[in-house]
């Protein structure tokens, strides 16, 4: 069985966000740290669990991004992916999900993956489009917010639980090959192991230049980034922690809430 896991490198959560002068991107400094998108970590872990269960499974990790995003691939190898594919895109500015999805689909097309896993969305841009678009381009069935999966013993179908609003789950049986967008909580992502990290260091990536791939025709553009206007109607408490505690208790008492 062949699995493809699509991962994205994002800024570490909690990092300071600085918009660059073009207002199309962010400015990174030498203290900016990057990590694998949280949802994608669950996708990698799920692929490894499938491999551990079935044995004869090959996992490719793929990313689209500048050279620094190779770190995300190296980490995926350190966790347990077998090979890494880097679609190297050094262009600055916004890359819409349709571009990412078209490129991944083009690379995946002839590699006969039984299952393609993505995260349900990325922590940074939050579009949630890449998985469903890859599926549609490749004309494969697709399901998102996956919180459980089980591949049949004959390897022909996969039974999934798909979380819906309110937390109930719809269960589907889907024919392989298909594309699944994974939700957090499906598993507990593991840390890289030392031996795999050592091996990953020596591994070369399958490097594909973005320029060699087709750009989709229609794509939305990012006009400008900005910080949201503060709309808070709330009172901001000032003073020492004690003073704030006293003020809060007074407010709660005045509202008959305490």
């Amino acid at each position: 069985m062949k699995l493809l896991v699509c991962i994205k490198q994002v800024m570490e959560s909690g990092s300071e966000i600085i918009i660059d002068d073009s207002r199309h991107g962010l400015t990174y400094s030498n203290v900016t740290r990057f990590e694998i998108n949280k949802y994608d970590e669950y996708a990698i872990e799920e692929a490894i669990l499938i491999k551990e269960k079935f044995g004869n499974v090959h996992i490719d990790a793929i990313t689209v991004g500048p050279s620094r995003s190779g770190d995300a691939l190296r980490r995926a190898l350190g966790i347990g992916a077998d090979e890494a594919i880097h679609i190297l895109d050094e262009t600055k500015g916004y890359r819409p999900p349709i571009t990412t999805a078209s490129w991944i689909a083009e690379v995946a097309k002839d590699r006969n993956y039984d299952l393609i896993l993505t995260g349900i969305m990325s922590d940074d841009e939050m579009n949630g489009q890449t998985g469903p678009m890859i599926a549609q381009i490749l004309n494969r069935p697709c399901a998102g917010t996956i919180i459980k999966e089980e591949i049949s013993s004959d390897g022909k179908t996969i039974t999934i639980e798909r979380e819906i609003e309110g937390g109930a789950k719809d269960v589907f049986q889907i024919d392989l090959p298909c594309v699944l967008a994974v939700q957090t909580g499906i598993n507990s992502p593991r840390y890289p192991s030392l031996s795999k990290v050592m091996r990953a260091k020596k591994k070369t990536f399958d490097l594909i230049l973005a320029e060699s791939l087709k750009k989709p025709g229609q794509q939305p553009k990012l006009h400008a980034l900005g910080f949201p206007q503060k709309m808070s109607h709330g009172i901001v408490l000032e003073g020492s922690p004690q003073e704030k505690a006293v003020q809060l208790l007074d407010i709660l008492v005045s509202k008959s809430l305490a």
Binding site: I17, R162, D170, Q218, L225, G234, V246, A258
Partner: protein, 334 residues
Amino acid sequence: MTENIAIITAHDGKNISTSTWELYAFAKKLKVHTTADICFFLVGEDTRKLAEEINSRTGCPAIAADVPNTGNYHGEIYKKTLAHLLAEHSNDYILAPHSISGMDYAPALSIILNGSCITGVEDIKAEGDVLYFVRAMFNGKLQADMQSQGVSNSSPLILTLQPGAFKPLQPNKKLSPKIIHGRFDFSEDRMRYQGKLPSPSQGSNLAKAEVIVSGGRGIEEQENYQFIEMLATIFPRAATGASRPICDYGWAPYKKQVGATGTIVSPKLYIACGISGSTQHLQGIRDSRFIVVINKDPTAPIFQVADVCIVEDLIKFIPILVEESQKRKTPKGN
């Protein structure tokens, strides 16, 4: 032929969902900047009544399709049916809710219909002839103005609307309904529905709780959930809740999860500690009467919905707050 602003109607088979009326409000705002007309599309097992309701209340055309096996959202059938219905009409814009199903079919439709797709839209801005669709990034810390050039019926723009971004517009005209109603069978054998499993939130005490103290990733470690429990003790009857990651990590059971995929709460008082304010969490607390936020990051988006904002480290602040509260409860002079 005039072009459409097509609204994909969200419903549960019996009732039109609030998100549909939010889409209608959004469509009205969009319509000001275009010459297109608003038109509703419905897919379901038995859509005639719903289509009549939409049409008579709004006066907008309703195009409805009865399709077997769509009582629960089925991605394959839904995408095929919508692609078929939409292709028969001339649409510049296609609007869907940014719901779990909308997130699934909207990107796919944009590919089938050779269009483009912008998800999680919260507003429209116009500068001259150019429209910008405003959406959040980085969990609401950034805002992006998106633009799509060359929107036309041969290349429509598909937008998903963030729940809660627009006030639902629920007109109540009483027109005699004129609908286009058809039956289709797009039975799809690549994907088969097997049933539904209940939510772990079912029967959770959070739905009815009057005071809720919730902890998020800001608690940093499992044992720090005790600070949330400690804070709850200062109220006579308070329930404790959590953001999704806390439940994913196993630090609190899923029945404590507040938000879109957990419990929707409506307490008199909601205290959010170390929660950033993602749209999915906010969807669950919108009906809270009074919101207190304790977060060490003054730029956390959750402050935008707070009645009282406290910029503090919860681990330092909660014990102080609890101590102050106890001082008040103990009579002076002891």
